[in-house]
Subunit: 566 residues, 2 copies
Amino acid sequence: MSSTTGRTRSWWGWGWDEEALTGPALDGVGAMLAARFGRAPDASGHGVVDPVDPHAVEVARPRVAAPRHLAALTSEDPVDRLRHGHGAAFRELVRALHGDVPTPPDLVLRPRDAADVARVLDWCSDAGIAVVPWGGGTSVVGGVTPPVDVGPVVSLDLEHLDRVLDVDERSQHALVQGGATGPAIERQLATRGLTFRHFPQSWEFATLGGWVVTRAGGHFATGPTHVDDLVAAVTAETPTGRWASRRLPGSGAGPSPDRLLLGSEGILGVVTEAWVRVQPRPRSRASATLAFPTFVAGLDAVRAIAQVPLEPANCRLLDPVEAALAGAAPPDGRRTLLVLGFEAVDGPLTERLALAIEVARDHGAEVLDGPIERRGDVTGAAEGGAGAWREAFLRGPYLRDAIARLGGVAETFETATTWDRAAELVATLRDTAEAAATDACGGALVAVRTTHAYVDGVAPYVTVVAPGPPSAAARDRVSRGRAQAAAWDAVKAAVSDAIDAAGATITHHHAVGRDHRRWYDRQRPEVFARALAAVKREIDPAGVLNPGVLVDAAAVPVSRCDDASG
Amino acid sequence: MSSTTGRTRSWWGWGWDEEALTGPALDGVGAMLAARFGRAPDASGHGVVDPVDPHAVEVARPRVAAPRHLAALTSEDPVDRLRHGHGAAFRELVRALHGDVPTPPDLVLRPRDAADVARVLDWCSDAGIAVVPWGGGTSVVGGVTPPVDVGPVVSLDLEHLDRVLDVDERSQHALVQGGATGPAIERQLATRGLTFRHFPQSWEFATLGGWVVTRAGGHFATGPTHVDDLVAAVTAETPTGRWASRRLPGSGAGPSPDRLLLGSEGILGVVTEAWVRVQPRPRSRASATLAFPTFVAGLDAVRAIAQVPLEPANCRLLDPVEAALAGAAPPDGRRTLLVLGFEAVDGPLTERLALAIEVARDHGAEVLDGPIERRGDVTGAAEGGAGAWREAFLRGPYLRDAIARLGGVAETFETATTWDRAAELVATLRDTAEAAATDACGGALVAVRTTHAYVDGVAPYVTVVAPGPPSAAARDRVSRGRAQAAAWDAVKAAVSDAIDAAGATITHHHAVGRDHRRWYDRQRPEVFARALAAVKREIDPAGVLNPGVLVDAAAVPVSRCDDASG
């Protein structure tokens, strides 16, 4: 729980305890929300609540004990179990804040290598114990939350598999263990002047294996930003053997094995290592911030820029509310902002940025800031609107925790759609979120941005902030947390139905987990669902890996068949 | 068999009868080979042979008759069945040339729409009749060849599903039927100024559905050239229902359904339509031809250009033999050629080309030709080395047919590997092919080029030409054809073992089919093979779709299970 830097991971909320909003910053958020909603966010009148001391939370004794050969990997510590009892969804963390963690795992197991992972899977398969693979615990969709009604559950924490094992500089590949976090990967690559250049919001805490199985999206708006396109080969331990692919650039030999593990969300295997693409650190950056009279005009410009294609590293459209939340609002507070940035290992970017600005101007943009061009090691650097936005992006989850403590509701959702439906979808989502949040909580602040711009479509991302629901007033702590969570669940159900009705995806990069199952089941081809369930039964016949995620495949007909005919 | 343009598809060889080499052109190839090998390519002394008249070939009566409701789709014509009895591998066409087609399908069925496809699958599943989906019949790996020992077989020819059904210009997507060929797609898109820009060598004859299920590679060296990256959604008919995905740009909801159909080679379903990416026709092109003292120096330059990344449309490295075959050899005939080209919808390419040339010069290149820059509708246009190479590329299969008729052996194979192993792999493949062909045929001409250049690796492509084996001398026609085929099979086995030993892929874009099974089974993860077989059993429980390709999944344990417990 404590890091080498002396910081402590929050047991209930995001990231580091030391980074949480406190004092005047926290009070300022409360005052801002009170001004916006005409009342304090906390309907109970308790004001800011402190997280429950996890040592004071009652945790049931483990229903199972690890066998002797796994004892050295095993933790029964109640606080450790509480920490592994939830991911990072608002609906979970607001309950954890109040000491309400309904399904802590019975044990936390920390393998030291792939062989340990295989041993754990063997034991759990034989004993019928559910295994929830755990990377950084940053899932916002219930992907790492121990399921109910499946008996004993162990959380398999990959934190010891944190190394870069090999680098092939000629092919620009690195072999990275599944439990390595963003900082661990970058630190080990930096000594060779290389970068993985995969920066999702979870970067500081999440792991390569988690990104692979959730098809994570990095924060770059175009180009190779999805982990799907950054993976060259994957090795996973499964309950029935090791699944290891070769590095075969562009291979067309049958369906891609890697593409079946990408997005498998821990139901097929545990990623122990992967060859990933790395690259020299960028040394040129050019950026600008522009303003549009309307969000729709901005969308048109983003489409035109993506379709040239100009491939900006950053191409984020922020509506006025989002721009204000990010502290990057234009003076009048009514315009849509476009944060535009280009990156290259070397060489001038002036021409591409100038062309992008020209395209944006054709759609009514005014340049607020830039163009700024920078040389040198620019990894992680950003200035102007891009800098403000990046800082807000990384601080976002801490702000969400603060609003939870203030008694309010704050969460995000995201999707993707083709350009022909983009403007209409954004309007629908904004209206639906606002109506549902107002209905549940009596007020709503809805902010929209786009995160990724493709030649053929775009990924809208929506933040909803609301005061706590009236149902959270004057009750015990656990009930208040549950009321806050339930208010969000109502909003989420409404927007998810709207996403499905619009033919968009229930998730662009947050994954499916347990929370998106209802809508995922509607959008995926039914025949494919049967295919995936068949794979699940074949690879994990005991059905122990992350049950309830993606598919219901507990039937295990093959084993039953063996029984019946044996 | 006859087209609207009055040309006739060859029943045994590649493409159009009217495009085959004849007269002085054919004699010239014979003389060239005789000069190179010190003897006529035909070991039998028969000289040039004409293809057997298909009407004179004895074809067994169909073992099965179509039910009445499918009669209108059904052909029992013996020549039609012979034409559908083989693909376009040398080992098949050289036998067909001599009237030797061992497994013609019992029937050829031509559905008019997706509902017809479903009806055919229903009938075949119920009756236990194998179905081989047929696009252009251009498989060079036995992917469309009716298998032996499976009882009755029907060939499912998609030629009537040849339309572009819809275009979403805003998202740059087109909905195209599975049986549409390259020219059919481009003709229908051209009216809107759009192009699919997918130009594999099979372009004129192969179909969208075939490309999807074989993960076809277009002829562009970098960027979105694989059909994998050009597909936005796929609809397939399977024996157990329709598999239809949504268009969801960048969606991270579970493993990609499309990526499981991509490369499925007809064993899971029949692609009836797909949304594909289209784009405005390019209006700028810049190209140059360069020469390197060695192939290894050229490989280093290609790697450096790919890793900038400069993303040239064309970046083909031709060794001296390949350059000579392509009619683009540098004056001294000893140097390696690099054909370099850039394309854009609009705007100057001078800077990118100049940078690529600079990078190549750093690796010892001399500019032979260009830079040439062209504006206007450049779709399909090319000049200089690129023009000569493109023409030779499209004529290649006709040359192969000519060599078959001359009694010789001519075929290609391809692979892909990471950059760290590229130079060594090319040397090994050249040596292995030369030794094996010399051993089997007493002489060999081996030409190497690269077809695709990735940031992390490269796809080498090897052409082998040899005189006919001594075993083909003075025997009947069928035996001579079989001896020619067997000579190639020996070469192919040797190079395939070398590819596997080097850790490379058995196919970059030719697919697996039946001919690559032995090596594909070695390279894929064993756990993935079990997963794929499980999917096959679930989706196609009767095991009727393209049996023998990719997996052996005839066991159908689920049905047996139902029987045992019922």
